[in-house]
Symmetry: C2
Subunit: 228 residues, 2 copies
Amino acid sequence: MTKLYHYPLDPFCRRIRISVAEFGGELELIEERPWDGRIEFLKMNPTGLVPVMIADDDTVIAGIEAVEGYLEDTRDENTPSQLGVTPAERAETRRLVAWFDGKFHHDVSAPLLIEKIVRRFVPPEAGGGAPNMNKVRAALDKIRPQLEYIGTLTQERNWIAGNEITIADFAAASHLSVLDYLGDVPWSANKQAKAWYQRIKSRPSFRSLLADKIQGMPPPRIYADLDF
Amino acid sequence: MTKLYHYPLDPFCRRIRISVAEFGGELELIEERPWDGRIEFLKMNPTGLVPVMIADDDTVIAGIEAVEGYLEDTRDENTPSQLGVTPAERAETRRLVAWFDGKFHHDVSAPLLIEKIVRRFVPPEAGGGAPNMNKVRAALDKIRPQLEYIGTLTQERNWIAGNEITIADFAAASHLSVLDYLGDVPWSANKQAKAWYQRIKSRPSFRSLLADKIQGMPPPRIYADLDF
């Protein structure tokens, strides 16, 4: 079976897990804590980042861009692309994936993950310790404008990038699901964004994410609740 | 004609300029200084980043990921992909593009561009002023290991990602060409990397880059010299 080196709360790994499930595939998940800097893992991906996928023929596919492209390149010819159909639709999907994996990640999910998760697991000499609350607050302040953007997009369209679901939805939902695990999403701030997340959270492809548990750090009750 | 909003020393715009030329296309270049935060530009790309491409039918294609994908999606069916042929080759190309656009950019080209270019053009209240020499030195120190990596890759293979030229070469060369404009590449440190750059620099698709001039900041003589 195809293997995925992943960290449960990494938004990029979550996107791949959704994407594979939506394509009807299965993954054997292997937990990797990228901050450990394991030599054997660095040999597979010199950036040290998850996800890394190992195909059935042992091909190593390293990094979110490569894994996403590989899933598209090897999909069954009768299975629709998860990027959209026309070049213009696909450009809009890619623009929005870059928005969530760039801007949203940089401003919100990366600082929250570093402060609330990574610093809990690394030794003090590597930057471990209590979260820097100034950084946490700065990141939290940027969630509402992101919910508003999602609200605006999904009011004009059925899904984030257009009328069909795409990896732009998987990307946005992956980042938000990580914050949701941390109990940090003010869902009541935007009804439209909440309705969109409810739709995507109810999909079978999302189930394995809702079952994730980080040891010593259980999610709030609403995390796995479809009526949150 | 297809338009490209670009900044001459932006490595992502340079990659697109090479890519379009290698596909046999032409671009009308429109200079955009992304740090100006021009409202009309932000409407085209809310991230505020270049490149933004305007297709002949006025479709706006915003950001490097969308533009690259659009060029692939709309290429003539007889024109080979610039990503490689097999899914494994294409995964390797994408891994290395992510390396240069992620790691190399973060560690080297982004800090050097900010310190040496952006700070020269923005007002003091927006962070303008003399370069922070500690940041400049930290970035310069990371160029040699990158040249070594390119040397190792191109010793094993003909080009960076395999035996054919791909966008991984265009990405690596784009970042290096920006540093070369700033006079910052210690070419003598790695013969193999230099030989690879010489090959790519000699291609017709590279010519327009070598003619770039930033006002008040001419490149060193060797920048446009094919025997550097």
